[in-house]
Symmetry: C2
Subunit: 290 residues, 2 copies
């Protein structure tokens, strides 16, 4: 398939935009491939400067009916979820009529972890006649490729730490919990759950300051990977320049993420930061069957 | 065996005392059973007020030779480790000659998680002619029994959360990582690694304040359990009045810990605090084979 091949200049793509800069990078990639993005910016999460570069509509969580009407008016048949959105307290949602009709489905999604929530969102979307597509189908170039991104590469100790972290994340797959762990000199220092990667890195920086992490500075790896069995249409692991800055503060040797399934925001800025701080950033193969 | 049976009034027990009040409670239990405790208080960790109630010596980590000499002079043949000690930076230890001879063993213990460190400590101790005993052998009454400690008991949702947390901890067993997790309404909110239980609970209190944990206040359970396959002579999970205070700040419904393997400090104070705060504290059976 050629990029911008007119044969692929199909109907526009509805992009449901959460927070951060990734929705913009994704829209750019989609547009470069000859497909028109229509941004559905989630109120309270999406960044106006990011979504306003394309056709856009502001929508609220709980307003499924309004979203379906707008998507139909824009001739969208496919939709993509991208960017950070935290599970809102259900009592704070203002629900429209169509959402209320779908409430049994939504409520079921609220029990259980993120995977169930997102599967619920997808089934709601599909009940509105839209197809939920994955990022790998429409803009695979936003994923990190295999190999080192900058000048630095992991050493033997780092490779052992990376392998251990990947197996920790894989072991937690059935519990729909973290996508990230920090391992230093074969010790599992942190496992991510509700706090998110930045908080987890800040914790390791604190524990190092307090002398409670005794692996020397420049030891340890942040590893991110999608949960095994995760629905790849949602909530993929993401890194960007801030991840590198936080990894440096946590005194790590580097960052390893799964190639082809971790989104990288601003790859050039990430590589430059990694080189400047003398840490590695690498795309690694996913752990397959356990 | 009768408590204080003179036949069991054997040689004194060497108790290596880390931080906190538990070493004192253990020494009391040992003494009630008719055995004389000799406290070996670790400098920088043990609490003077706790250890000074019995025969005691101050020792530094890395001074294995001095410890062995003192233990022999006191006629101890068994030793017990109890209380909090964090892995010290190896470069900050002042090593005596006997410790230096044992360095290959010690260094091997420093790679890998706590279990390997502790197994290394045990093998060093045994090379000095002492036997490392477990708390269950000398003072089983310091463990929490099965059942609710105060007036409150878990409801059905709490029971589901407890079961999920126990399986998360079990799944992490091979990685020598946490002994604790927090699950609320079937979502795994936190998994403990290097940060310790108090830090993990503080994190959930923070995430709740920030609206990033949306389970309503009074939902969620802190669960502590020894790692599967853990050497029961070391580093058993512990709760005390501070655990209850932190669980309340984190907005949890209660605390569940494994009966017969979790140490409870000041059980009467824990039960009183739980009743006052209307949360449950319960000893539950361990998860057996997966």
């Amino acid at each position: 398939m050629t990029v911008a091949d007119p044969a692929h200049n199909v109907e526009p793509l509805a992009i449901i935009c959460g927070g951060g800069g990734i929705p913009g990078a994704v829209a750019d990639a989609v547009a470069r491939r000859g497909r028109r993005p229509v941004m559905f910016a989630i109120k309270g999460w999406a960044d106006a400067a990011v979504v306003e570069r394309y056709t856009h509509h502001w929508i609220a969580i709980g307003q499924a009916g309004r979203f379906f009407r707008l998507a139909r008016a824009e001739n969208c048949r496919d939709m993509l979820f991208i960017g950070a959105v935290l599970r809102p307290p259900i009592t704070q949602l203002r629900l429209d009529w169509q959402t209320i009709r779908l409430m049994p489905q939504v409520l079921r999604s609220y029990r259980g972890g993120d995977d169930r929530l997102l599967a619920g969102v997808a089934s709601v979307a599909e009940s509105g006649g839209l197809r939920v597509v994955g990022l790998h189908e429409v803009a695979p170039e936003v994923f990190i490729p295999e190999g080192a991104l900058g000048r630095h590469v992991p050493g033997d100790r780092d490779k052992t730490d990376i392998a251990r972290a990947l197996t920790v994340i894989a072991a937690l797959g059935p519990f729909d919990v973290g996508q990230a762990a920090i391992v230093a000199d074969n010790n599992v220092l942190a496992v991510e759950a509700a706090e998110g990667t930045d908080n987890m890195l800040a914790r390791i920086a604190d524990l190092r300051r307090q002398g409670r992490v005794t692996a020397p500075p420049g030891t340890g790896v942040l590893v991110k990977a999608p949960k095994p069995g995760q629905d790849r249409r949602f909530d993929l692991p993401t890194i960007g320049p801030r991840t590198i800055a936080n990894a440096v503060r946590a005194g790590l040797a580097g960052v390893a993420v799964t190639a082809g399934s971790t989104i990288i925001a601003e790859p050039a800025a990430v590589a430059a930061a990694a080189d400047r701080e003398k840490i590695f950033v690498i795309g690694v193969p996913e752990v397959t069957a356990r």
